[in-house]
Amino acid sequence: MAAEAPAQPPAAAGEPNHGLRIFIPWLVLSVAADLIIWIAWRPHLPPGTMSSAGANQQFDIAIMAVLAAPVMILVLTYFAYALIVWRQKPGDEEDGPPIHGNTRIQATWIVVSSVIVLFLAVFGTVELFTAQGSGGGEGASAVFTSGVSKPLQVQVIGQQWKFTYRYPQYGGFETTDLVLPTNTWVEFHVTSIDVIHSFWAYQLGVKADANPGVDNIAYTKIYHTGSITVRCAELCGLWHGAMFDYGRAVSPAAFQSWAQATEVHLAAVTKVLPPYSLTYDPTQVAQMGKGMVANGLTGGAGLYYPPTDPAQP
């Protein structure tokens, strides 16, 4: 009984060409699977094509699926072929022949695997650094930039347990409503004023950590209007599961109207906000509280942020 065809010595007389019998169905199935993935599945892959970052991620996932499918099909084809062709015959108690390896197959396998892995490494690196920054936060010094001189800046402020959005180009107003224009490069500045959060705007393909004291930049350009689901993607405390909201992508004209009206509507509260900054000091309240205690004022029976409390976070 043959144990493993590819590693056998030259085929015995009358032995079929197992390699060819595996290769042909693998080729047919792989081409079919890749066509289905690219034509039928790709348009439905997450996170969709609402934004440049989202479309880029969908392309990346489709490329990886196209590469992975033939590998998976080869394994399954070989597995099925072995089960059918090399299964033990009734009454066959004979051991399989000794296997000494097959240099050609091993070399092919190593070369093909290396090519795939190296291609993915280069592809992934290029996609990460050039194509929309992959929608992730790039830190304060983004490698990928939009290239436009004045993108729309939107500051995302994470706090337990709500995101607020600040628009510095419109007087610095801050709101719980995320409204963005289409066909405009958006430059998110993601930060936190307490613990670590993660700003995940699903349909936009933007997911950036919100760290206290850090300005995390992410770019995207929205292609069409629609609803945007925003979730916190970092376990951040008791109500982390409820830390979500829904934003809107609207036309540039509708955005202008909304932004100008909101700037006026929120003028009173904008006055009491700290000046717009890329980060805010989360320990400020603790310092203010300690100052009150030091001045002999109580807050919560004098228990808030006494001088012995560490500055947090």
Partner: protein, 236 residues
């Protein structure tokens, strides 16, 4: 060890495990603060008005964490103050809220929560005076907030004002009793909002980092149901 002794030890150990399991189930899963029912006798989605009364105290003297700040809710039937943050209201109704603020001040970490939102008219009344925004960084004037993110409700709780720590000022025993403000200072916050037609649990929280001694001030009472956060259960 003799056989009876081994059997006895086994039985005792088994009973101990059962007792621990029962305690966990009863204490952590079935226990917890009571739910104050404001929906009894009110027809949902009728636009009826329900009057909910709460208070926030600088401490509580009714739990195992007496130094934690805490909300209390008044039982509409008995008028007793219950140490809970869970209450039930009818859907599609108007809620007239009264909250007695007995606690001292702590600044908001984000002053944007000094804005009143989600109430009828985006206004709250502090001792009868209307406010749309309270700047907690300008003075010792905000102690807590009552915020329900699910309906975009945010109302800062005003404080009795500057209290010298070397004078007996803040209410020392919970639940505090509204009475003569000169004896025990407090503020009365009133505001109204409409409950959604969609039933469900809407969590509420305080946005002032008043969990002193905990990470970012949002641990302890800020992360424990029954103290500074809870649920508004909207029922039909």
């Amino acid at each position: 060890m003799s056989l009876p002794a081994r059997v006895s030890l086994l039985v005792v150990a088994f009973l101990a495990v059962v007792a621990i399991g029962a305690f966990v189930v009863l204490h952590y899963f079935l226990g917890g603060p009571a739910v104050v029912d404001y929906s009894a006798g009110v027809t949902p989605d009728s636009g009826a008005t329900v009057h909910v009364v709460m208070q926030e105290d600088p401490q509580n003297t009714v739990s195992t964490h007496p130094d934690w700040v805490s909300y209390f809710i008044q039982n509409p039937r008995t008028k007793a103050w219950e140490h809970t943050t869970l209450f039930k209201v009818p859907a599609g109704s108007r809620i007239d809220m009264t909250i007695y603020g007995f606690d001292g001040c702590t600044p908001l970490r984000n002053p944007v929560w000094g804005q009143i939102t989600g109430t009828i008219g985006d206004v709250e009344y502090v001792n009868g005076k209307p406010y749309h925004v309270i700047n907690s960084w300008s003075s010792c004037n905000v102690g807590h907030t009552f915020s329900i993110p699910g309906i975009n409700l945010n109302v800062p709780m005003a404080t009795p004002g500057l209290i010298q720590s070397n004078k007996p000022g803040l209410c020392p025993t919970s639940p505090c009793q509204p009475g003569d403000p000169k004896a025990v200072p407090y503020r009365v916050m009133t505001f109204s909002f409409n409950t959604p037609h969609a039933t469900g649990q809407y969590f509420w929280q305080c946005r002032v980092p008043c969990g002193g001694g905990f990470v970012t001030g949002f641990g302890g009472p800020m992360s424990t149901i029954g103290f500074m956060t809870g649920n508004m259960d909207v029922v039909s």
